[in-house]
């Protein structure tokens, strides 16, 4: 009989990566909301998860749907601010002065941004990413490559090689 890890271990092992992924997809408090929704949904579904499942891919799949939900809610109810406030202490990656790069990443077309996040941040293979985004493995690979090329163009030196 396989034994399932306490859920706390899942949060411990994957909380950081999921937060990084959320921050590539969404800014500031929206990323926090997506993280919270992701882990709450994961906690709910966890007892039924097959023991052989790839936990990271499972979490990223949930996170992908939650990030899209948060984005849709945001588009339906846009927050009326003239200029988005810069808050480098809590948003983006603290202490590295990289908000330009994060903005460049978030400025990518959806599919490229997702592919970049899931491959370069979550470390998922393209076959898993294709399962999340739909389409072929080759299309997922191409979206990530296009995303990185766009990043290099818009933010020289700022993309993984």
């Amino acid at each position: 009989m396989g034994i399932k890890q306490p859920f706390e271990k899942i949060v411990e092992d994957h909380g950081t990566t999921v937060l990084r992924v959320c921050r590539v997809l969404l800014a500031g408090p929206d990323a926090d909301d997506a993280w919270s929704e992701t882990f709450l949904a994961a906690l709910r579904a966890y007892p039924g998860l097959p023991e052989t499942a790839n936990i990271q891919a499972w979490l990223v799949t949930i996170g992908h749907r939650k990030a899209i939900d948060v984005l849709r809610a945001r588009r339906r109810h846009p927050v009326p601010v003239g200029e988005l406030p810069e808050a480098p202490t809590t948003l983006g990656v603290p202490g590295t002065g990289d908000s330009d790069l994060w903005q460049a990443v978030r400025g990518l077309p959806d599919k490229q941004r997702h592919a970049v996040a899931y491959h370069y941040v979550a470390g998922l293979p393209y076959a898993e990413i294709a399962g999340i985004l739909g389409g072929t493995t080759e299309a997922a690979r191409r979206a990530a490559a296009d995303g990185i090329r766009n990043l290099r163009k818009n933010y020289p030196g700022g993309a993984p090689s």
Binding site: K4, Q5, F7, S36, L43, V93, T96, L101, Y120, S161
Partner: protein
């Protein structure tokens, strides 16, 4: 590793993750998904793991029992929805603090006894009637629960008590007056007996 790869791998600040964790604890409790909440407390007998279901305190574990393994067992036996969520254990932590300070003689906490069955459960349900500062021998307890020949089984029931300290298996000692087996080790048992004798 070049500079931009770091940007994709730099850990978020721990404060943010701690805040998000607290938010998850609260949401899980609100949604009825917090099947097992746990925390640790420091004590004169070392760090103690405290775990509770919505019904009550379900496990107290000594460091020597290996807290990670205890949590894995709870995940397997009760539910894998196990989360570090201290607030459900506030009352238990407070009462244990009072007990170790010599200011509490009995615990007033809802208990979840679902980790025990049969004869062990019978013995463990009897144990709280041994008063603070008193002791009984394994043989006496066997008599008192109506199974005078089950002395060894009483020993096993005490050694496998899922709620040590709170359910006072430390008050059951050998017939010759020596402490006998204990989940937290013989030194912890002696510490508790001395604490109660002094208060």
């Amino acid at each position: 590793m070049n500079e931009h790869n770091d940007l994709f791998t730099t850990p978020p600040d721990p404060g943010t993750l701690a805040r998000l964790h607290r938010r998850l604890e609260q949401a899980a409790e609100r949604e009825g998904l917090l099947d097992v909440a746990y925390r640790t407390v420091d004590s004169p007998v070392g760090p103690l793991l405290l775990a509770a279901t919505p019904r009550g305190l379900v496990r107290v574990a000594y460091d020597v029992e290996d807290h990670d393994r205890v949590l894995e067992t709870l995940a397997g036996r009760l539910s894998p929805r196990v989360l570090r969520a201290p607030s459900r254990l506030d009352a238990a932590a407070r009462e244990l603090g009072e007990y170790f300070a010599g200011r509490r003689r009995a615990f007033d906490l809802p208990l979840d006894l679902s980790m025990s069955r049969g004869f062990r459960l019978l013995v463990q349900q009897y144990l709280p009637s041994i008063g603070y500062g008193q002791t009984r021998s394994y043989g006496e307890v066997a008599d008192l629960v109506g199974h005078p020949k089950a002395v060894r089984a009483v020993g096993t029931a005490c050694a496998t008590n899922p709620l040590p300290v709170v359910v006072p298996c430390h008050r059951v000692i050998r017939g010759d007056g020596t402490p006998g087996r204990y989940a937290g080790g013989p030194a912890a048992k002696t510490t508790l007996l001395n604490l109660e004798a002094a208060a």
